[in-house]
Symmetry: C2
DNA sequence: AATAATGCTTGCATTTTGCAAATAAAAGGA
DNA sequence: TCCTTTTATTTGCAAAATGCAAGCATTATT
């Protein structure tokens, strides 16, 4: 049987490959990061630039520019907050919402295809396992960080 | 309970974050791709440039340059094959093997930390689930590929 | 031989990245 | 209140990564 490290290396790579191909929707090519940004803005309620950048683990300057490109593509709106005008809140435009939904469907279709190869019991087991893994990884800090300089 | 897409979005992101921090070893900073290259060269037996690039899903020209930098770092050797001198085989240097081992230990430590939070039964279940997921994803093509041009 | 196909590398031009510095707005202290 | 700090975000820049087209070297096909 394969050892644990190999198992994780492989699944990590699979998710990576899955990601590289992400996503074409409605004539627009959406990069991986962009799709994550759309997802995250959709999930949170009018999040600030910082909140999304943090959630995605992206450097904020890079993120700022990614948002700019999404604004240019007319998928995202950015408005200064009324309470504190330093903070800019992000939300999806109608088109952005549309794209997010299309991507959502694509991924759901893919997931259904995966689980079509499993019994209901296996599917339940896999889902609970991923959930458990998610929670546990959330509790622990991240792996293998380079020494701070 | 969370829906499947959310679950996968989260685990994908966790693996991504895990990856970004990869890796510092023996005073060298190893990037994510580089660590995957080292892993893959170590796993295969004297693979060719193409074989590794393919396994990692990287464009071969980008890969070629990544290998060059690993050669400069003295972690990898590249030799023309005797049978067919177009083919160049890759292997780790002593130093490269060393680095690969250090990274391996780092990741194993992290994995042990994760599983220390679980019962033996949970651990077994999670491992078998990932294995099942790996195999199933392997059978299916990748998700959401953009239309070819 | 001459032509085609294969494996790999280089030339570019584009994109992405992230640190340092800049800007703008709010908070805190005298 | 004015001045200094802190916070949120954006730009300058320089380095790195990317990928297509073209190149070079070697082998296969005819």
């Amino acid at each position: 049987m394969e050892n644990t490290r190999d198992l994780f290396q492989m699944i990590t790579r699979r998710f990576g490959l899955l990601n590289k191909n992400c996503c074409s929707a409605d004539g627009l090519d959406i990069s991986l990061i962009q799709s994550h940004i759309l997802y995250e803005i959709n999930r949170q309620l009018a999040p600030s630039v910082q909140e999304v950048a943090e959630a995605l683990g992206t450097d904020i300057t890079t993120f700022s520019r990614q948002v700019q490109s999404l604004i240019k593509m007319n998928l995202v709106n950015k408005t200064p907050s009324l309470n504190d005008r330093r903070i800019h809140t992000l939300e999806l435009t109608a088109e952005g919402t549309n794209i997010a939904e299309i991507i959502d469907e694509q991924i759901n279709t893919y997931l259904e295809e995966i689980f079509a190869h499993m019994t209901d019991f296996e599917k339940e087991t896999v889902l609970r396992s991923i959930q458990l893994l998610n929670n546990t990884m959330g509790k622990i800090g991240s792996c293998c960080a380079p020494a701070p300089r």
